[in-house]
């Protein structure tokens, strides 16, 4: 029996076991929305396509499964761009399906036509324009395979309206076979042995882990490696949760707002074992002064990440988990604590993350309390700015996929829709978006989505009345000239929440924080907590731009 392109797409999504699709319709995707009316998966209508993209992304980060969104052509498609770029930078598997004008009209500047494959080429792992319905099923199969294999990423399928209506037999390929795409999985055994030797000989090693560890599900192997070889562990923002924060070998995040111990250990190490991390400039600080005495072992599935920013002595290309399984076998078991470990202990003790513990309502305290009342178990999404950095510092993450944040692109407006996606993926988890008063306004319209679909996420706005992170730079480097960073005209967030049918709670005193959080968690609805925090609080430590990692400013207490 022949089926339409739209029906075939639905069957493909069902075959891929898609549970939820996010999106918003329009003229050139109408036919597909009609086919979706009886689809076996849930459809979440968002209020903006950017929201749909971030929800799909948040769902993917929380589960490891690809997130899916469907939107119309033209403006619907262009509204996805930020969401795709966000996912692309952080290697998140996502499938975006965009309506397109009929193939006969493509290139004619037809109504709501946009060259979306052209526009999104630099921000997708790959994209397709399906011109013939007979190619559709294979294309969808390939799209899912590309999105989820190797270094994952978003894949876009542009779906012209006539192809949605055209008919053909539906056959779903059992597997994708793409001759030009064969990601390397197994690490080179010789390289793995060399790496083990180097680890065994190192006196001042650090294990530097990133998002790749979470993607490849290698956190257990990381724990084994660290414990067997007694490796102090530092992580990137994307690697948060891949190693338990409270572990003795944990030093914390490295980089611009990294911990004193992580940054100093990196700089003074004689060996950096990088796993699924890419030596981003926010991590290395001034790159020519980065870890001057260190040799580097770099394990990554993407060869382009290796020796891009920092020279690597032993590259190992492949899947982190498979490589670590081998590597763990070859490293020597160490039991004794060395001078190096004692040095690190001293740094950790003498320079912990801290802030001024007075009676004022400080943002760091709010985050500590979220940790406290959720027993460290909540899924935390963040916006971007100071709120994001404090969230990396003052919540002690215990497991992978617990911290969901836009790392590479730093997208304000990401956290709230991502929280919705994560909550749908993990209905039993408490999900908090730790937000700034600026960022939250970038996708606040999704409150309607959360209320309408009964998705009880909690939004903790660290309301400082500023685009705080930018203001901090202006305070430190631009003579306190707060140009364009004062958020006069903020709405009353409590009333705003209420107007959407959500719940709003205002908190102005430190003493009210805990009760407010407990109350918010009990309410089975989306809740906005408007924390009126100290306006000019800063994020420390801080490695100023152009400085080396150990030149961190310690601002407080």
């Amino acid at each position: 029996m022949k089926k339409t392109g739209a029906q075939i797409l639905m069957e493909c999504l069902a075959k891929e076991k898609v549970e939820v699709v996010f999106g918003l319709p329009g003229g050139q995707i109408l036919f597909t929305f009609d086919a979706m009316y009886h689809a076996p998966f849930k459809f979440i209508l968002t209020r903006h396509e950017q929201g749909a993209a971030h929800m799909a992304d948040g769902y993917a980060r929380a589960t490891g499964k690809p997130g899916v969104c469907i939107v119309t052509s033209g403006p619907g498609a262009t509204n996805l761009v930020t969401g795709l770029a966000t996912a692309y930078m952080d290697s998140i598997p996502m499938i975006a399906i965009t309506g397109q004008v009929a193939t006969s009209l493509i290139g004619n500047d037809a109504f709501q036509e946009a060259d979306i494959t052209g526009i999104t080429r630099p921000v997708t792992k790959h994209n397709f324009l399906v011109k013939d319905v007979r190619d559709l099923a294979r294309t969808v199969k390939e799209a899912f395979y590309i999105a989820t294999s190797g270094r994952p990423g978003p894949v876009l399928i542009d779906f012209p309206s006539d192809v949605q209506k055209a008919e053909t037999e539906f056959v779903y390929p059992t597997q994708a076979d793409i001759r030009s795409y064969r990601p390397t999985v197994k690490g080179h055994p010789g390289q793995i042995k060399k790496a083990a030797d180097m680890i065994n000989k190192a006196e001042k090693p650090v294990l530097y882990i990133g998002g790749g560890v979470i993607i490849s599900d290698a956190h257990t192997q990381i724990l084994q490696l660290a414990e067997k070889a007694q490796l102090p562990v530092i992580w990137t923002l994307m690697g948060i949760g891949a190693f338990p924060t409270k572990h003795d070998l944990a030093l914390g995040m490295v980089g611009m707002h990294g911990t004193y111990s992580a940054n100093h250990a990196t700089q003074k190490s004689d060996l950096i074992i990088a796993v699924g991390a890419r030596f981003d400039d926010r991590v290395t600080g001034r790159v020519d002064k980065f870890a001057p005495g260190a040799k580097v072992i770099h394990i990554d599935i993407d060869p382009t990440s290796i020796s891009k920013n920092v020279n690597v002595d032993i590259p190992i290309v492949g899947d982190a988990r498979e490589i670590l399984d081998e590597l763990v076998k070859h490293v020597a078991k160490k039991t004794k604590l060395t001078v190096w470990h004692k040095q690190i202990e001293t740094w950790k003790k003498d320079f912990p993350l801290t802030y001024k513990k007075d009676n004022q309502l400080r943002p760091q305290y709010v985050i500590e309390q979220i940790d406290e009342v959720t027993k460290g178990k909540a899924i935390i999404t963040t916006e971007v700015g100071q709120n994001q950095m404090w969230s990396t510092q003052f919540f002690r993450y215990q497991r992978p996929r617990q911290f969901i944040s836009s790392g590479g692109l730093g997208t304000m407006g990401f956290g709230f829709p991502a929280a919705i996606g994560a909550k749908l993926a993990c209905p039993d988890a408490i999900v908090f978006d730790i937000a700034g008063d600026g960022s939250i306004q970038m996708n606040i319209q999704e409150l309607a989505t959360a209320v309408h679909n009964k998705i009880p996420v909690k939004i903790a706005i660290l309301n400082n009345g500023y685009l705080g992170m930018v203001r901090q730079w202006q305070q430190l480097f631009y003579g306190k000239r707060y140009s364009g960073t004062v958020l006069d005209g903020n709405p009353d967030f409590v009333k705003l929440a209420e107007s959407y049918g959500a719940v709003g709670i205002r908190v102005t005193k430190k003493s009210e924080v805990k009760a407010a959080l407990l109350k918010a968690i009990k309410i089975d609805k989306p809740v906005i907590l408007d924390f009126r925090v100290v306006p000019e609080e800063n994020v420390f430590p801080f490695v100023p731009p152009g400085a080396a990692l150990e030149e961190l400013l310690q601002g407080v207490a």
Binding site: R121, P122, L129, S180, Y181, T304
Partner: protein, 159 residues
């Protein structure tokens, strides 16, 4: 260093754009790029001439390899290979210069492919250096127009 990079790609819409995008987005310089079908109609070969230190060229090659539509990337720097470029040059002529131009064409084993009252079009194939030398020699006669295909390359031997 000058590298000749030979890239086998799927013969599909958008592939050239992906490669061009990669070079512009990452700020790599290319001297020339030539594309055409191979013995297998579904595959095209691109020959890219790129310059840069080892690290940059290595990145270029890895980035090319990462593109989903790229089947194989070969750097010919260590490989014995042939390179050819083709040029068409429209050179001004008159009675007094015609025979001298003919001589040069002969020496370079080029060909006159079109004759007009005040100009000729010369076609020449060769390595980049040979073509550069040729163009320099005919330049004094007045080059009205010139077009080159870009370099194509092939490894020697039976592989």
């Amino acid at each position: 260093m000058r590298h000749t990079i030979s890239v086998l790609v799927e013969n599909k819409a958008g592939v050239l754009a992906r490669i061009a995008n990669l070079f512009s987005a990452r700020g790599y310089n290319i001297d020339s790029l030539a594309v055409g079908e191979t013995e297998d109609q579904s595959i095209s070969r691109m020959t890219i001439i790129a310059r840069g230190d080892e690290r940059i060229v290595e990145q270029i090659e890895k980035q090319l390899n990462k593109l989903v539509d790229v089947i194989k990337v070969s750097d010919f720097i260590q490989t014995e290979h042939l390179e050819r470029d083709l040029v068409l040059v429209k050179v001004s002529t008159d009675k007094s210069t015609r025979s001298e131009i003919l001589q040069i064409v002969d020496i370079f084993r080029a060909k006159i492919v079109d004759v007009a009252p005040t100009s000729v079009i010369i076609e020449m194939t060769g390595t980049e250096e040979k073509i550069n030398a040729f163009v320099e020699i005919v330049r004094p006669f007045g080059v009205k127009e010139m077009v080159r295909t870009g370099i194509v390359a092939m490894a020697r031997g039976s592989k």
